[in-house]
Structure formats: C-alpha cells, structure tokens
C-alpha cells in the first residue's frame, strides 16, 4: 500500500487532485481510497487531502500517519508543522517551486522533486482571482516523479474530472509530468 498526502491552501484544488489521481489509479486497476482533511475549512487556510492505493482492497480507516509521498502546492507551506506531520526518511516530496527549497528546515526525507507548477498554470491561463490553479500540474508532476502512472492515464483522468478548461488542464498535467525534476536524493 502507498499513501500520498497533498497539501495546498483552501481553493487551490488539493482535494480535487486526490480525486483525479484516485480515478487514474482506479482505471489502472488499483484499489483506492481518497479523502480530504477534516474540520472547518476556510479559503486560504492550509488544506490537506490523502490517497491510499493498493493491489488489494483497502479496509483501513484512519488518517495517513506517514505518507510515502507529500505533494506540496505552495512552497510557503513547508514551514507549517501540520503539513509536515508524518514526514519521515521514507517520504518523497514533490514541491511547487522554481528552485530547491531551503531543505534545512525539513525533517529527513527520501527524495525531493520540484516543478514550477505556478508558471505552467499561468502559461495556460489557469487562474482564479485569488490563486493559480496548480492542482492539475501537480497531479502530472506526482505521476512523473513517482513513475506510478503513465502520462496518458493521468491526462485522461484530468480530462475526465476537471469542471472547466479540459484541454488546458490536461496540457498542464502533461507539461508538469515532463518537467518535474529530482533535486535531492
């Protein structure tokens, strides 16, 4: 079983990201379980969502305690202990950013990938008044970094689940899939 945590700000689409990947993995024959963080959520407040994937039925019902992957939509969240909760030396990180973030504040981790999802989203005009919509790029970046999903599976799931701007969102996922790079091991 693999456990993936997505961390963003309310309104950035972290929850939809876990849903899109759930759909992609499910299509590929995996068993999946996806859920958001709980509690009163407010626009702009940190929000997490989670995805479990396994080759057999997932019966476990509790929070994700130590994710295998942490996908961070906004590098400013790396300073937030709630976001980093559960990160161990077995966790790989995928972070939205232009350069390797200051890793000194981070606990031990297995590997770190970055992608400039904001630039990808803005290049494709994926924005609301408050945020660049980076979730579909981050979904692509996770797939590229982890190697767990093919580009086509991910793009197809994105296309099937985004409410608007299907082509742009699929393009964002594809571009991020190609551009995500490993910065630390």
């Amino acid at each position: 079983m693999r456990e993936i945590k997505f961390a963003g700000r309310g309104g950035q689409g972290a929850v939809l990201a876990s849903q899109i990947l759930a759909a992609a993995f499910s299509e590929d024959g995996w068993f999946v379980q996806a859920f958001p963080s709980f509690g009163a959520e407010r626009r702009g407040a940190p929000v997490s969502s989670f995805l479990r994937i396994d080759s057999e039925e997932i019966t476990l019902r509790c929070g994700v305690l130590s994710p295998d992957w942490l996908v961070v939509f906004d590098s400013s969240l790396l300073g937030n202990p709630m976001i980093l909760a559960g990160v161990t030396e077995n966790t790989s990180l995928v972070v939205n950013g232009t350069a390797a973030p200051d890793a000194s504040g981070l606990p031990g981790f297995k590997s770190l990938y970055t992608v400039d999802a904001t630039a990808i989203a803005e290049g494709l005009r994926l924005k609301t008044t408050s945020f660049s919509i980076v979730n579909t790029a981050m979904v692509g970046a996770f797939a590229g970094a982890s190697g767990l999903l093919s580009l086509e599976s991910v793009a197809s799931a994105v296309g099937g689940m985004v409410p608007v701007k299907k082509e742009e969102n699929m393009a964002a996922a594809r571009e991020a899939y190609e551009k995500v790079k490993e910065v630390f091991k």
């Binding site: 009163a40 626009r43 702009g44 408050s130």
Partner: protein, 297 residues
C-alpha cells in the same frame, strides 16, 4: 462627517474567517459599541466557527457556544440569572445567523420577543447556511443559487420578512442595518443599548464564498444591496413606528444582481419580478415611515 470616538475592541485578531468575510467585521462593530460589560451567546454557524477553536478564542468578553435553535432562549436565561445576581448592568447579546434566526431558531426567538426578554438579539444575515457549505435558508433571496437550490432549480421563494415577524411581537426596537454602513450600524447599536426589553438588529453581511463574488468586493455588495433597496435600512419602534435611515439615491437592482455569481441563473423575466418586488416593498416601507424619503447619506 462625524468623527467617531475610538472605542476599545472586544475581539482579538486571528479569527477563522474566509478572506472577505463581513460577519466578523459586523461583530467587531457591534461589540466595540457595547463594551466589555457584555456576555455573548452564539448558536451554530459561521459566527461560532469564526470565534475560534479550542484552545483559541477571539472573544475578549464571556462567550458561549449554544445549540443551533436556542440562541434567544439561552440569552434569556443568562439575562434572568444575571439579573437575579444583581448584574442587571451586564449586557446580554444573542449573535446568530440567518439559519439560526429565520429557521431553526425562530421558535425560541418568538418566545423571547413575546416575553419582551431584556436581550439584544443580533442576526448576521449572509442569506444561506454558509458554514455547512451554502445551503438555502428562508433568508435566501428569490433566484439565488445555493447547493440545495442548484442552477437547474434556483430558489423559488422570496426572502422571509424577518423584521415584520419580529415587529408583530410589539418589541421596543428593531433595526435593519448593513455592515457596509458602519456608522449607521454603530448608531443603531447605541440606540438599542440605551433601551430595555427585546431589541433586534438585522444586519446584512455579504459573503464572497456563498454569494460568489471577489473577496475584495464584499463592502461594495453591501452598499449596492442598500442603494438598490434590496435591503433597506430603517428602524421600528414598538413594533409600529418606522423610521428610514439615510441610504442614498435608489439604483436599479441589476447593478446589485449582476456582480454576484449566485444570481447568474436569473432570466430577464425574473430580474423584472425582483425589481417589481423591490419597488413594491420600498413603497410600502416609505408608506409605513410616513413618506419619509430617507435622504442622502
């Protein structure tokens, strides 16, 4: 322009509201006018969540979270207990949303009003059950989208006339106010605070999250609501003497409706109905106020 006296805030910063939230702004104005010798009861809703999660609280004054339907009754009980202990000078405020006032809280509100319990009941009205994700309430206006009145079938009932219902109880003071007109709101709080018996202030608090407009436009939406007379400002004394508040020249409702995503589904026909209803209510209000125009702000 009148220079306002600087009053002490009765809330701490750091409330848990959405960007552009105006209910907390309204709360801040109301409480700073009332001062520190005040106790507050708030029922379920944004007002409760915004006040903070244990171990944090934004309230400087004593604050109780009560069940959804019981703000007025709880406040009435607090009042009674404080009076019996010689604390008649302590102000008791019920702070409840439209859901907790117009709907599930209506019974206990009616009881407190009918008994003329000496409490200040303040309803912050964002026109839906916002805290649980924007479901309709009886304060939701005609034609509005909510999650239980989706675009395929938007709200088909007009907004409940809450002040008329409270007025029918013959209470000493009722006011309709809007957070976008803070001087007017604060004046009404001062008026209410200077009286005894059941006092009711109905405050329109635009909500970007549920009304579907940009966070920066919250105050503007409130102004447009008042200027278009979708939400007029006035006072009612003893359930029958109406006095209009200064509002500024009337504008067409389309200026108000067009800025909000929740009204995106309105047909031109529905907009005409809304304009007609607004005009009729405004005329009626003017009649009740004895033809007083309300003047410019």
């Amino acid at each position: 322009m009148e220079v306002l006296e600087r009053k002490t805030e009765q809330i701490y910063p750091g409330s848990f509201s959405c960007p552009g939230c105006s209910l907390n702004l309204a709360y801040r104005h109301v409480l700073s006018e009332l001062g520190s010798n005040t106790v507050v009861v708030t029922s379920a809703g944004c007002g409760s969540v915004v006040a903070g999660y244990y171990p944090a609280t934004t309230s400087k004054v004593p604050f109780f979270h009560c069940s959804f339907g019981t703000a007025a009754a709880t406040a009435a009980g607090l009042r009674a207990g404080l009076d019996m202990q010689g604390r008649a000078d302590t102000r008791v405020v019920a702070w409840a949303g439209d859901g907790g006032t117009f709907d599930i809280g209506l019974q206990s509100l009616s009881g407190a009003a009918e008994r003329n319990d000496d409490i200040l009941y303040v309803c912050y009205d964002n026109e839906a059950y916002m805290n649980t994700g924007v479901q309709r309430s009886s304060a939701t206006p005609l034609g509005s989208w909510t999650t239980t009145t989706p675009f395929a079938s938007t709200e088909d009932r007009p907004k409940k006339d809450m002040t008329a219902i409270v007025a029918a109880h013959g209470v000493p003071y009722i006011a309709a106010a809007c957070v976008s007109f803070p001087e007017d709101l604060r004046k009404k709080v001062r008026t209410a605070a200077g009286m005894k018996g059941f006092r009711f202030i109905h405050i329109l608090v635009p909500c970007p999250t549920g009304w579907l407009h940009a966070a920066k436009d919250t105050v503007k939406m409130g102004r447009l609501a008042v200027l278009s007379r979708v939400f007029s400002l006035y006072e009612i004394f003893n359930g029958r003497d109406y006095r209009l508040s200064p509002m500024g020249a009337k504008i067409p409702v389309t200026e108000y409706l067009s800025g909000q995503g929740r009204f995106k589904g309105l047909t031109p026909e529905q907009q005409e109905i809304i304009q007609r209803d607004v005009d009729r209510q405004w005329k009626r209000l003017q009649g009740l106020a004895g033809g007083d125009e309300g003047g410019a702000s």
